[in-house]
């Protein structure tokens, strides 16, 4: 073998080795891509879509698609998202409002939702419903999920997750929801495919509409508790909420919605009144304002006194709206053309769902 041939062979070997390395690198990259893309698709497929069954899980996320310049923001549990109608507030008073409510939203979650909201806008008024003061720790993982998953990633979300997690939960399950929902493959339906990437609106500025009626009767008294004082954590977050609002120049309004159940104890009422008085906050207990609002528990609730139906929510909104504009000076913005045209569309959707529900429940509007 001549020197040249040997060199050629050597070069060939080097090239082969190079080729091999190149090939295996390429192989690695392609494999990794396949893994990542397929895992992402799987995750999108497996997470619950909250579009037709349990729509409450979709509320929190809907906010991010909005033009965010609201004057009034509601935060809290079902006692806000079923009891106030932003559409009504707009129609009657020109108040541009949004409800950041979710099922059994705990007070620390409300607080972090407020922090989250302030990343985008600073409203004039924040309305918080005080029922959740009774909870000092998360009661159920499912509720945590519905509130937290919809949030966009931010420090507020991370803090909210850490404050909410129950013993059996894991932070990683929030980062990669596929770990939490991996068993859902056996229960997938067409909607999971249909709404894999987009979603459809399920609320009206955070309001959950129900038009059916179930009169309240036999609502039980609360059972006797050993201890009626609210927990430390709850108070702490109320303090933080108050301080944050004060810092940002936001008027914080505390309310108790007129739901008859869960029972609102006089001992609780006392504590909230004291707190509101001590810090000069406005506190409105709608349970005591039956006459002023005109709530009729025979016609204005859809589940026997727990939540308002459309009729109840509109009555409450009419009353609360006048208070907002007259006493708190929330502006009437109906003259803003761009905003008006946005609301034009929203009102149309609101009306359409109303009709649809009347038809569904076989009722006369």
């Amino acid at each position: 073998m001549s020197e040249n041939e040997r060199n050629a062979g050597y070069i060939k070997d080097v090239e082969n080795a190079k080729n091999k390395r190149y090939k295996s690198l390429l192989r690695g990259i392609v494999s990794a891509l396949i893994v990542l893309v397929s895992l992402y698709l799987l995750q999108r497929l497996l997470v619950p879509k909250y579009v037709d069954d349990v729509v409450e899980g979709a509320f929190i996320a809907e906010y991010y698609g909005e033009e965010k310049d609201f004057d009034v923001i509601f935060i809290g549990d079902c006692e806000v998202y079923e009891n106030f109608s932003p559409a009504m507030l707009w129609e009657q008073y020109g108040i541009n409002s949004y409800i950041r409510g979710s099922a059994q939203q705990y007070i620390w979650q409300s607080y972090y939702l407020l922090e989250d909201t302030l990343r985008y806008e600073t409203p004039d008024v924040v309305v918080f419903n005080v029922l959740s003061l009774q909870y000092d720790k998360a009661q159920r993982e499912a509720y945590n999920r519905m509130t937290l998953e919809g949030m966009e990633w931010s420090a507020a979300k991370v803090k909210s997750i850490l404050a909410s997690m129950r013993e059996e939960e894991n932070f990683l399950d929030y980062v990669f929801p596929i770990l939490r929902y991996h068993t859902r493959w056996s229960g997938l339906s067409g909607t999971d495919l249909e709404y894999m990437f987009d979603t459809k609106p399920v609320s009206h500025n955070g309001y959950y509409m129900r038009v059916d009626v179930k009169a309240a009767q036999d609502v039980p008294q609360g059972r006797i508790l050993a201890d009626y004082s609210f927990g430390e954590k709850a108070w702490d977050y109320l303090d933080r909420m108050r301080e944050l609002c004060a810092k940002e120049g936001i008027e914080l309004v505390l309310i108790k919605a007129p739901s008859l159940y869960p029972y609102w104890y006089p001992e609780w009422e006392e504590q909230v009144e004291e707190y509101a008085f001590a810090h000069g906050l406005r506190y409105i207990n709608f349970l005591e304002l039956g006459e002023e609002t005109g709530i009729d528990y025979a016609t204005d609730t859809y589940d026997g006194g727990l939540h308002m139906n459309l009729s109840g929510a509109e009555k409450l909104s009419a009353y609360f709206g006048s208070m907002l504009s007259e006493e708190l000076g929330v502006p009437d913005r109906r003259k803003e053309t761009e905003l008006s045209s946005r609301w034009e569309e929203k009102l149309a959707a609101y009306e359409a769902e109303k009709q649809e529900q009347y038809r569904y429940y076989g009722m006369q509007p």
């Binding site: 549990d77 050993a226 869960p262 026997g304």
Partner: protein, 219 residues
């Protein structure tokens, strides 16, 4: 010389990195630890609930076989609703035993027409918690699958007594005498845990103010 020092430095840096990473990994471990803690609790509960000698002695995850059982304990919390028998306390009204976590339908049927009935939808979920009020007591249920199970029995006045004869208005001493295993908690409530349920006496000024039988499945 320089080189050696540099290497040493590098060594230190690696060590720091190592420590940091380990702490990181350890941090993730936190949540886990509490889970293990709860396993222990369940086991000790097991031991105290009166099972004889051998059964209560199960050790955790030590020998190979037990690796299986440690996870078993963890998941072994499924509701024992299936069978009617219970080791726990229960309330009896007119000869009907109202057992916590038992299938509600037959019991409610035997109890007859309630004085009042209320159902509470929970936010966002299907299924209803139901409350039946009778003379002197209330029975609450929770849904699982197709059926409802008893979650709570609340004694409302002194016309009814616990199976062991305590009524509302009795003194702290009497409760402690009848239920020596009862644990008094910070807020004064005396809790007797037995057979996967809790019997609670809510106290005020050392007198019984309310009595509740509670399921622990939902906690």
């Amino acid at each position: 010389m320089m080189k050696k020092v540099y290497r040493k430095m590098q060594g230190k840096r690696v060590a720091a990195l190592l420590a940091a990473a380990m702490v990181l990994a350890a941090g993730c471990g936190q949540a886990e630890k509490t889970v293990e803690g709860s396993v222990e609790n369940i086991q000790s509960a097991d031991r105290s609930d009166g099972t004889e000698g051998e059964a209560g002695q199960a050790e955790n995850g030590d020998s190979g076989q037990d690796a299986a059982q440690s996870s078993e304990v963890q998941q072994g919390q499924a509701p024992e609703a299936a069978s009617g028998a219970t080791d726990g306390y229960f309330f009896t009204s007119n000869g009907v035993a109202i057992v916590i976590d038992a299938d509600a339908a037959p019991i409610i049927e035997k109890l007859g027409e309630p004085a009042s009935y209320f159902e509470a939808a929970s936010c966002a979920f299907e299924g209803l918690d139901k409350m039946y009020t009778y003379a002197g007591f209330e029975v609450d249920t929770y849904p699982t699958g197709e059926n409802d199970y008893i979650s709570t029995v609340i004694l409302k006045d002194d016309s009814v007594a616990t199976g062991e004869g305590v009524v509302i208005g009795d003194s702290l001493e009497k409760v402690q005498e009848v239920y020596p295993e009862g644990n008094q908690q910070e807020n004064g409530t005396i809790v007797c845990e037995k057979g996967g349920m809790k019997l609670c006496f809510i106290m005020e000024n050392d007198t019984v103010k309310a009595i509740e039988y509670r399921s622990t499945v939902l906690e």
